[in-house]
Amino acid sequence: MTDFAIGLNGICKRFGAVQANRDVSMNIAKGSIHGIIGENGAGKSTLMSILYGYYQADSGSITVDGREVRIRNSQEAIRLGIGMVHQHFMLVDNFTVLENIVLGAEGGLLLKQGLAKAREHLQALNRDYSLEVDPDAIVGELGVGLQQRVEILKALYRGADVLILDEPTAVLTPQEADHLFCILRALREQGKTVILITHKLREVMDITDAVSVMRAGTVVGNVRTADVDKEKLADLMVGRKVTLKVDKAEREPGAAVLDVRQLCLTDARGVKLLDDLNFQVRAGEIVGIAGVSGNGQSELLEVLAGMLEPTSGEIRYQGADLLQEKSSQPRAALYRKKGIAHVPEDRSREGLVKSFPMFENAILGYHDDKSVSKGGLYSRQALLARTRDFIRQFDIRPDNAQLRVGLLSGGNQQKVVLAREIHANPELLLIGQPTRGVDIGAIEFIHKRLVELRDAGKAILLVSVELEEILALSDRILVMAGGQISGEVAARDADTISLGLLMGGHKH
């Protein structure tokens, strides 16, 4: 019989009306890499939060090394040898690596001997796992990949035998992710147990020994990775057949709708966020912008949507430079009227007012539209009718136009935004992270709508950190790194490796 590092037996957890975990059981073998895969909202994070002591399970039990334990807070989890690498790093930016690592485990009232001891220990860990982290570097000045390794070191320094990583590759380039996987394999060789939470099938196939698939709060499969393939896992995750590919015919694009020339944006500190961007988006074409998040994509979208003023350059839309337009209204409103629709990256902050009902959200940004108002007052009937149309066309659930938008799932919120923007019949659609936090079923739907829009001859600029999404949808792909366009690839010639190199800033 194999030794189990962690055993979860019949874990249940309920938050109000939501059953986040329902009778979840799994055994995680010592010295293995165990994947937990599932869609957003499947209960993966809740489960791991229970294991790490943030929440208490309503019922069920946890065993560590075969002994039943109670984990009431994260200190107890640490004491049991469980370490967690959070999706959002838990680091103090203006501390050195060393200070971050000893924080909370200083070993005495004074820092001096604690730091000296930690330095020695750190060098040993650095050697063992080839982490290459400088203990005296300021954490805020390190790249994300290195920051993540600091998090790993933090857990190892506290004597973690079981390491939980929550969506660790979300912020990494493919190359950085590969390096991370090397580190994880090294950890496994040293007898550590790794739990990898992810929604990316490729990662599970690449690195795990066993995988638990979660759906709607329950475990729908505990399998050995060697016994399954991607399609099988995807079916388990969603509970029905899904096509990971988007059907899309080759199409000759029309005239340029958007023509960006020498676009630059410099922030208050003089950092170049956008550095001399030149590109076009033509009618009937989806141009995808790939890149690790934080390389200027968000700023580009905001500049094009009129939310940010560029430092210099031209934004030619249907032949005329938008920046030369004089208008008393805010730029974002002006651009909208001209037919530039925008589905922002952060829909809950910029795309919706969560405490408003669905029908009010359905006209945000288009509230001047004469067809929904009468004599300066909104016609509730017209608003509701329009919203019901949206609900029908986009299959928004639940189908209640008066429901507060904040109560909808991520996928349905996104459908509300998308429906609103498409309804305006734009010539150019700017869309950021269309499927972030959206379940697979809705992803398929949203992708289909985007392709329909393209086939109707509209221009679409798509920003996404999901390479698979970029590859599936785009006709042309631009890669951004450090505020510049580091390369352009036709979609049919692109693969993750070549894009990954460009994302890391290697120019063609």
Binding site: N100, G104, L111
Partner: protein, 320 residues
Amino acid sequence: MEQLFSLLDSTIRVATPLVLAALAGMFSERSGVVDIGLEGKMLVAAFAAAAAAFVTHSPWLGLLAGIMASVSLAMVHAFVSVTYNGNQLISGMAINTIASGITPVLGLAWFQQGGNTPQLDDDSRFHDISLPFADALSNVPVIGHLYSKLLSGHSILVYLTILIIPVVSWVVYRSRFGLRLRAVGENPHAADTAGVSVARVRYIALFWGGVLCGVAGTFLSVYQTGSFIKEMTAGKGFLALAALIFGKWRPLPAVLGCLLFAFADASQIRLEGVDLPIVGQIPSQAIQVIPYVLTVLLLAGFVGRAVAPKAIGVPFVKSR
């Protein structure tokens, strides 16, 4: 020379309560809690210390009462802003309002002197003390002068403050508590996941801030004036806060800021009624405004961008 010595001498006197208050503010703000209540805590401490010293005839019991009064207000601030995640500015403002209201009310009820406390007799006050050999060395040029004129002849509270400065600096940068304090003010979530109790660190920080404000208030009433006078802090708490920002929330530069403000204040007293070449006599109102103008100028441009602790003013709520 005499002129200069006496100017520096009063700089030290004026700076002492500012330094104490600025270091108090540093503890709480470094832990992520905005502390505009320095003023109120000092005021309450000044009143409690003077009242207790008057009744007990002991300046030390006065000091104890001052510290206790200030700490209890600090704990109210902690309770509101740490335990109940209340707005820290409003809580601080409330402390100031309470302090400026309750001190004259109690003063009037207890002593019937228009809200002030009676003048303390000599036994109930802190006095200037001569350091050993001050007289003997007073004739040695330079060093002797510095020692006997500048260093000697201050209250025990001044020497206490001079000792406190390096201790605080050491605590912040070299001790376990200091590391946790800075972490909690910068990224409380990181500290929390590393097993540090954010609330505990903030309570401790506010407690020590209260202690230091208590000493500062006592200095004003039981040493400087010998009685409590209504609104006697007169904006010193805010001046200390300005010095703290000027010092970018670091102990030694903040002390430097306090000395600068104190120097401006001390020169102002000396400039009053003096005929200067060319300009003649400067109206006293114009002179009195110097420290404040200096504050605005320094904060506006001179120090560059002051980067506050990142989590300052934000109540810590465990997210997940």
